[in-house]
C-alpha cells in the first residue's frame, strides 16, 4: 500500500509503471505481471475567469470534504453559491443549510436533477424551497470576482451578479484515463476506458475497474459511463479475481441509484423516457401517487412512482420514485424486474410482503403497474 504515490506512466511492453513519490518527488519504476487500472474520476471544473480562487471547491473525495469543512469552520461563510443541480449539488445544499448558511443553487435548466423525469425533479424543487434553498434557473456562470486575498466575493452569470462567500462547483466528473490512453488502452465512445465482462482492457494483462471505465447497461444493451461506488466495487472484485488467475465476469448494471435531499428520498433504476426513446423503444409511462404504508399507520407518506415501459412488448424499461418514506428500498424490487426483463403485467401480479407498518395491501408498485397495463397494446 503506497499512498501519496502518483503513477505517471504505464509501459505495457516492458510491463512496468513509473511512480512518483509525492513526499520527496522521487521517481521509481515498478514491474508487474498483472496490472489493474482503477484511476477513478475527477471533478469537472468550469474554466472561467477567477475559477482558481481558493474558496471555490469541488467535492469528490475525503480530502475535498475536509477542505470544505475546514473552510466553513474557519471563515464562517454566510452565503454559498452551488453550481450544478445534480446529486452532489443537491446533497451539499442540505449540508450547507445544516451549517446555517444561505444556499443558492445555480442551475442551467428550469429544474434540478435534470437527468431524472420532470415529475421527480418537481418534487425535489419543492423540497429545496421548503428548506430555504434559493433555486436560480437558466444560469450560465460566466466569471468570478475576487478580492485581494484571491477569494471569490461574487459570481457573474449570464443573468446576474451575485455575492458569494464561497462556491461549490458540482458540475460532474471526468474519468481519469490519461495514463491508460497514453499507454494504448482504447477508450469507448463515452471517453472512459473500454472494457469487457472480464474487466479486461485491450492491453495484455491489464484490467480496469471503477469510475475510469465503462459499464454495460443491461436495459439499453449498450456500454455507458455510470461512475458510482457500488459499481466500482463489483468491477473491482471481478478485475481482482481475473488478475489472480480466476474466471469471473460482470454482466452489467440496470442503472440504479438513490439519494436524499433533506427529507425527500429519491431513487431510480433503468432508463428515463428520453433515453428509452433514443434506444428505439416505443415508450409510454405511468405516474401514480400512493401511500407508503396503510394510511392509518403513523409515518405513512405519499410516494410518487413513474414507470417507464415499452407499450408493444409491455417490458419495464425504467422506474423513478420520490417520497419521504419507503422509496430507496422499494426501487430494488424494480431493479430485479429490469434484470429479469419482466413485463408490466408480470410486475402487477408480484407477491410482495404486506403488513400495515410496511405497505398497503396493494403496494404502490403494484398499483402503478396495474394502471400501466391499460396502456399496453394487446
Amino acid at each position: 500500500m503506497k499512498t501519496e504515490h502518483r503513477v505517471t506512466k504505464i509501459d505495457p511492453k516492458g510491463k512496468r509503471i513509473e511512480v512518483v513519490n509525492l513526499a520527496n518527488s522521487q521517481t521509481q519504476w515498478f514491474s508487474y505481471d498483472q496490472l489493474i487500472i482503477a484511476t477513478g474520476a475527477r471533478s469537472r471544473r468550469l474554466n472561467l475567469p477567477g475559477s482558481n480562487a481558493k474558496n471555490i471547491f469541488t467535492l469528490k473525495d475525503l480530502q475535498d470534504g475536509l477542505r470544505i469543512k475546514n473552510y466553513i469552520d474557519e471563515k464562517r461563510p454566510g452565503q454559498v453559491a452551488v453550481l450544478g443541480g445534480g446529486f452532489i449539488g443537491l446533497e451539499m445544499c442540505e449540508a450547507f443549510r445544516l451549517r446555517n448558511m444561505e444556499a443558492f443553487l445555480f442551475c442551467r435548466r428550469d429544474l434540478p436533477a435534470g437527468n431524472l423525469e420532470k415529475e421527480i425533479s418537481e418534487k425535489i424543487l419543492k423540497e429545496l424551497q421548503e428548506n430555504g434553498v434559493h433555486f436560480l434557473t437558466y444560469q450560465e456562470p460566466a466569471a468570478f470576482r475576487l478580492n485581494s486575498n484571491g477569494e471569490v466575493t461574487s459570481l457573474e452569470t449570464n443573468q446576474t451578479q451575485f455575492p458569494a462567500d464561497m462556491v461549490l462547483m458540482a458540475v460532474g466528473v471526468i474519468p481519469n484515463v490519461e495514463i491508460a490512453n497514453e499507454a494504448g488502452a482504447e477508450l469507448g465512445k463515452t471517453g472512459a476506458i473500454r472494457t469487457d465482462a472480464a474487466q479486461r482492457t485491450n492491453l495484455t494483462d491489464i484490467y480496469t475497474a471503477g469510475d475510469c471505465c465503462e459499464v454495460f447497461n443491461l436495459v439499453s444493451q449498450d456500454w455507458v459511463y455510470t461512475p458510482l461506488g457500488d459499481i466500482a466495487n463489483k468491477q473491482g472484485r471481478v478485475a481482482g479475481e481475473n488478475a489472480a488467475g480466476g474466471k469471473a465476469t460482470f454482466s452489467g448494471v440496470v442503472g440504479s441509484a438513490a439519494f436524499k435531499v433533506f427529507e425527500l428520498e429519491v431513487a431510480f433504476t433503468g432508463l428515463g423516457m428520453q433515453m428509452a426513446r433514443q434506444y428505439g423503444f416505443d415508450v409510454d409511462s405511468q405516474v401514480i401517487e400512493a401511500e407508503s404504508k396503510v394510511g392509518y399507520m403513523p409515518g405513512s407518506k405519499r410516494i410518487l412512482i413513474k414507470l417507464i415501459f415499452d407499450r408493444q412488448s409491455g417490458r419495464l424499461l425504467g422506474a423513478q420514485m420520490a417520497g419521504k418514506e419507503g422509496v430507496a428500498r422499494r426501487i430494488n424490487a424494480l431493479a430485479v424486474a429490469l434484470h429479469q426483463k419482466m413485463t408490466i403485467d408480470e410486475i402487477a401480479r408480484l407477491d410482495f410482503a404486506y403488513a400495515p407498518p410496511f405497505s398497503s395491501p396493494m403496494d404502490p408498485i403494484l398499483i402503478a403497474a396495474e394502471q400501466a397495463t391499460k396502456k399496453i397494446q394487446k
Binding site: A38, L62, G245
Partner: protein, 45 residues
Amino acid sequence: MSKKEKLLIIGGSAGGPSAAARAKRVNPDLEVTMFEQGRFISYGS
C-alpha cells in the same frame, strides 16, 4: 522456488481495494501493491 507473481493496482478508492482484496483471496501467494496519489484510501466507495 519460483519468483512471486506481482499484481500492481493503480488507484485506492473503490475499485482498487476491492480488486486487491479479491486477488489476495483467490491467490494468497500473489504480491499485491496498490498506489494511491491521495493521503487516504477507500474514501469514495
